[in-house]
Amino acid sequence: METVTITMKNPPQLYLEADNVTPDKFAGKSASQIAELHVYEGNTTSTLGKYFEVAGSAGATAADTKIVVKGDVSKVKYLGMKMSAGELVIEGSADQYVGAWMSGGKLLVKGNVDAFAATGMKGGELTIEGNAGNYLGAAYRGDWRGMSGGKILVKGNAGSDVGMYMLGGEIVVNGNIDVHVMTHAEGGKVIIKGNAKSKLGGQLVDGTIIVFGTIDVMMPGYKPVGEAELEIDGVKAKFAHFIGDTGERKKKRKGQVIYGNLYKKL
């Protein structure tokens, strides 16, 4: 695997859109060719090389390409957008749409990410060592096809609207999470190791939410049905089990009504 390192040297006056910073777009290119890729600041089109120092060269394919992003990219959007393979490491914090519509590969952010990370994610792995903003792993506006595959790990806290319209895949938040988790979901799983606030699983058709900490207010559409023992990351524990959203339409499988599941650690 070949590595390309891009280092921010001229931060943008406003914000930079860098949807070309992906292993897919870098693949097969030399440092100087990569520096010629387009980036956008407001209505001006410019080149990556104007903002970043580019070192190293890419592999022949996305899968053979690793990108390391250094320097302050907290005002850079769309890093890793639509990446399908390879690796992207962001050493600091990044702005919105990190890994949006990604379908494969590994994306690691050592700092925080702003909203809309992993929008419409289809596959791959996204790890955020800091905090994630709102709409992590959610669908784009109006789309009923949200995150359908892949895995997201947030070591810090996550914002609101995580996993909206989720269809599959898994999101793990080690810290706390804000309101609205897996709204409208029809599949997938969100695990919250810390505390949750309220409005978990509203309008959820199918899917699983597991909370280790507290829940401030439960949705009325979640009916208590007893206890369950679950093993998560090698740890066994007892959980209170709820099914819902009983206000929402429900699917049937083999004549049986399918409910979503919410587990809260006892």
């Binding site: 784009y140 506006r141 109006g142 789309d143 009923w144 339409r249």
Partner: protein, 569 residues
């Protein structure tokens, strides 16, 4: 004004019976002429196909429900936007393109006239604002009448003359083009959450049936002698077994004759017939009844139809058939918008994915094509996708490919997941007919123009007609190398003239043309009773005043073209 001559093209013009002969087409001052001076600009069409500008008879392209679609489907724009070029505006959206994209895409395919298929009268000002912002193409709009309280009240007592006077008044107030009826009676029933599924289901409260409404509207239309006939979306759309309802509706035309001075012969235009040609009793034994429908249509000279071809895309359904859209959202659970319009109509919008992996969608695809391939008189059967209901209008070139190439159909049939069902439950696999370019010109130009009562103006290349002329990169003398070449040629015309102005060159927009809004101004005898009824209903039941109801003024209709009808005698 400048002169042009399009030289050496293979001309297909049903209005003159020209079937691919090499012929020059001369243009002067916006009209087709016999000849032009030596200073005319020459367009070389050697080895290419030349036709009149195409005529869209039924599409949902402007107005409130189209815009609901745009507003509530941001995902329809995702990654589909084209950056602006030259004098063009930005253009985006797939199944519900922006107004600018609508105009550009029609023009690039060689369409120069389009009719908005359902205008809610209360919203006519909105429809006209969107038409104004749709560049290049001439447009008109059909106000809906089939659930209108005035119409229900008059026709309950068979008051044809009063119905006609009201129609004339409403066409003027809304700057409308024709009489449209959508699910007659059923949409009024929908205001209470009900429907009329057969032509004999009584409409709640109003004591009238869909059959009476349809018959009455046909009579009133012919009383006025309007350019177009009654344009009907019959009851029971989209349900297995509905072909019986469709045949019942068609039989209402028996013994009726068109009466007008526009050369129109039909008394009824049945739209998006594909959605109305279903057999079976449920989605499992769902099957094609295209043959039964076309057997009737082929014999009934006083009927025209359009197809409503399914294009196998993700699209957005929208119709004034409110109860149908509710039924659809219950089936596919996708987002549902509905608007009930006081005293007049309703509308619903639901996204839909016509997946080649679902047998019902594949059968629908086959039915649409069967209708076109079984048509004995292509002058009475027109290509539509009921845009965007069965697919976006931008797929016309693909539909034309399927109609012109048995090989292309076979490839698609083989690609279906449930090929066997398509083969067993339709007759598409057994049809080897391939439509000719002449027949395509009938189905997309001369035919719809005649049905609309515009055959002296558009749809042909006779001297004196509007100079709407298209050149396609398609050589009819050469065998088709691959069916996709047909699609490519019709997608991006080599050259398009609209009223004598070149608007497309090499598949790109070069001018915003001289767009017009076409409407029908029907003069009737004074009818104090109808005027009193209008006044009363506005005072008591409308939420706006009568004085504010009319679409009038340059900001709504900057370039009107009124077709006058005198029904005073």
């Amino acid at each position: 004004m400048s002169e042009f001559i399009i030289k050496n093209g293979h001309v297909f013009d049903p209005t003159q019976g020209i079937k691919g002969d090499k012929k020059d087409i001369a243009i002067k001052d916006g009209k087709i002429v016999d000849k032009v001076s030596g200073s005319a600009k020459t367009i070389d069409a050697k080895g290419k196909t030349v036709m009149a500008g195409a005529v869209e008879i039924h599409a949902h392209v402007a107005g409130p429900k189209v815009n609901v679609g745009r507003i509530y489907r941001p995902e329809d724009k995702l990654f589909t936007y084209m950056p602006k070029k030259g004098s063009q505006r930005m253009a985006g959206g797939f199944s519900i393109p922006t107004t600018f994209k609508t105009g550009y895409e029609y023009a690039k395919m060689g369409y120069t006239t389009a009719m908005e298929a359902a205008m809610p009268p209360l919203f006519s000002r909105h429809v006209h604002e969107e038409i104004r912002d749709t560049p290049i193409i001439d447009e008109g709009a059909y106000p809906v009448f089939g659930n209108n309280w005035f119409v229900l009240d008059y026709l309950k007592n068979d008051e044809i003359e009063n119905t006609a006077a009201y129609i004339a008044w409403l066409l003027r107030a809304t700057k409308g083009y024709a009489v449209k009826s959508v699910n007659p009676g059923g949409t009024e029933a929908w205001a209470w959450g009900l429907n009329c599924l057969s032509i004999h289901d009584p409409v709640p409260y109003f004591d009238i049936t869909p059959a009476e409404i349809t018959k009455g509207l046909m009579k009133a239309n012919e009383f006025l002698g309007l350019p177009h006939s009654l344009h009907i979306h019959p009851n029971n759309l989209g349900n297995p077994g509905n072909y019986e309802t469709t045949l019942d509706t068609l039989r209402l035309t028996e013994g009726m004759k068109a009466k007008n001075k526009f050369g129109r012969e039909q008394v009824l235009h049945l739209t998006h017939t594909q959605f109305h040609s279903y057999g079976g009793t449920n989605w499992g034994d769902f099957e094609s009844k295209a043959k039964e429908i076309m057997d009737f249509v082929n014999k009934a000279k006083n009927v025209t139809i359009d197809t409503g071809n399914v294009t196998l895309d993700e699209t957005t359904t929208m119709t004034a058939d409110g109860p149908f859209e509710h039924h659809l959202t219950e089936l596919n659970h996708l987002k549902w918008a509905n608007v009930d319009v006081e005293l007049e109509t309703a509308a619903g919008v639901v996204p839909y994915i016509y997946s080649p992996n679902i047998s019902v969608c594949a059968i629908q695809w086959a039915i649409g094509l069967e209708l076109g391939l079984m048509a004995k008189d292509p002058m009475r059967c027109y290509i539509t996708t009921d845009h965007p209901n069965a697919g976006p209008f931008t797929r016309y070139p693909r539909v034309i490919k399927w109609l012109m190439s048995a090989k292309a159909r076979e490839a698609q049939i083989n690609a279906f997941k449930h090929k066997d069902k398509v083969v067993n439950q339709t007759s598409i696999a057994g049809i080897d007919r391939e439509l000719s370019l002449y027949e395509i010109a009938q189905m997309t130009r001369a035919g719809p123009a005649k049905s609309l009562g515009l055959s002296s103006m558009i749809g042909g290349l006779k001297p004196g007609m509007d100079a709407d002329v298209v050149v396609y990169n398609f050589n009819p003398d050469k065998p088709v190398a691959k069916p996709d070449d047909i699609e490519a040629a019709f997608q991006r015309a080599a050259c398009v003239f609209k009223s004598g102005v070149q608007v497309v060159a090499d598949g790109e927009i070069v001018s915003n043309g001289n767009k017009r809004t076409i409407w029908v101004d029907a003069k009737t005898k004074e009818n104090p009773q109808v005027m009193r009824d209008i006044q009363e209903k506005f005072l008591k039941f409308y939420s706006m005043t009568q004085a504010n109801y009319e679409s009038i003024g340059h900001h709504f209709i900057p370039n009107p073209y009124a077709i006058e009808v005198d029904a005073r005698s």
